[in-house]
Amino acid sequence: MIALLRRDLMLAFRAGGGFGLGLAFFLIVTVLVPFSVGPQSDLLSTIAPGVLWLGALLACLLSLDRLLALDFEDGTLDLLATAPLPLEAALSIKALSHWLTTGLPLVIAAPVLGVMLNLAPAGFIWVIASLALGTPALSVIGTFGAALTVGIKRGGLLMSLLVLPLYVPTLIFGAEAARRGAIGLDGTTPLILLAGITLGTIALMPFASAAVLRMTLR
């Protein structure tokens, strides 16, 4: 399992591995928002938590089609399926490496972009906490979507359509926790619900992902 994680991280950092792609996308989306909204700092401040969350979600989505498709094309998935490692564990590791290369950089970059969006000072800690708790769920649910569409040529758009509705609960509670924090309210309740969603998906989703992947590999 460690070997698989190390290999995935190594591949992500080498040329063409796609590390930083999601981060750059996140950066550009959040930079474009002030341009499109105009110089109204109070309006920006109101929508900042929502924009940060939506940007993070789209950045996660962008890198999902690389998650399994490359391994499928070069036959690695066939060989992994016959290896002693259970497919559920292999997919959990893949989701973890996706989070480490996509979700974690987003969490770290979010405060910097918060400044650009005129996020209220009280909101920073809540945005970071909600993203840190919510992005693992995005990776795990995304792995399920990638497993569903891995056998389809250019299935990226189909995967987006399948995955985005599944992201709704995470987005609602994540953005709500960040919004409440930003206007000085207590965001603990949505944050706890968000953590619950994340833990639930981490526990259950790998089994669903492995089941659909076995069907795809037939």
Binding site: I2, A3, L4, A15, G75, L79, L80, A83
Partner: protein, 205 residues
């Protein structure tokens, strides 16, 4: 433990291609599968490797004992030869890759990125992967594609050494490998076209 196939029927894309296939591969022996294109060699091998369930019949001795090598080698272009092999060795809980590098004369290429290898060199690396799995049964689908005569000889030698150590091999190939092995022609086992039992769930997948 021998690999024992009894009355196995397999389907590809919901259409049965083979039925009633039975054979046994005993420790220390190899079996060469033959049949024309589209006869179902790949489908049968994938079924035996556990990548898809058989429509009917039994496959004994295939649990956690098979190292499968299909048309794709599972190599990462941005990893070196050593890194690729080490990864697969670790996945299968092994650590020694030197013997595999030596058997396919990959030592001079050890630090090259797999993406810069020629097709034949990639194939040699893919076959070397079998040696680091430590699995007793090799299930090989057209292993000699893009290999030159010298590399085919290396491959035959590796298989012979594997058999001598008590291993087994099931190889689908069209060329003569020079192995002392039985041949099994799957052509007579072609499934009847109208027989579609067990394929009904494919419509929902």
């Amino acid at each position: 433990m021998a690999l024992c196939i009894q009355g196995v029927a397999v389907a590809r894309g919901g259409v049965p291609v083979l039925s009633g296939v039975s054979f046994t591969v005993a420790p220390g022996t190899a079996l060469i599968l033959r049949g024309p294109n589209g006869a179902g060699k790949t489908t049968l091998l994938r079924t035996i490797a556990g990548l898809q369930p058989p429509l009917s019949g039994r496959i004994d001795g295939a649990e956690e004992t098979i190292a499968y090598a299909g048309h794709a080698d599972g190599l990462k272009a941005m990893l070196s030869v050593t890194e690729n092999l080490t990864f697969w060795a670790q996945v299968f809980g092994q650590s020694d890759i030197d013997a595999a590098l030596a058997a396919y004369q990959l030592d001079p290429l050890a630090d090259r990125l797999a993406g810069t290898l020629s097709a034949g060199q990639k194939r040699r690396l893919g076959l070397a992967r079998l040696m680091v799995t430590g699995r007793p049964i090799w299930v090989l689908d057209e292993p000699t594609v893009s290999l030159d005569a010298q590399a085919v000889a290396m491959f035959a030698q590796a298989v012979t050494a594997h058999l001598a150590a008590g291993g087994m091999a099931l190889i689908a190939t069209h060329i003569d490998l020079g192995l002392n092995a039985e041949t099994f022609d799957i052509t007579p086992y072609r499934a009847q076209p109208e027989q579609r039992s067990g394929a009904s769930d494919e419509a929902f997948l």
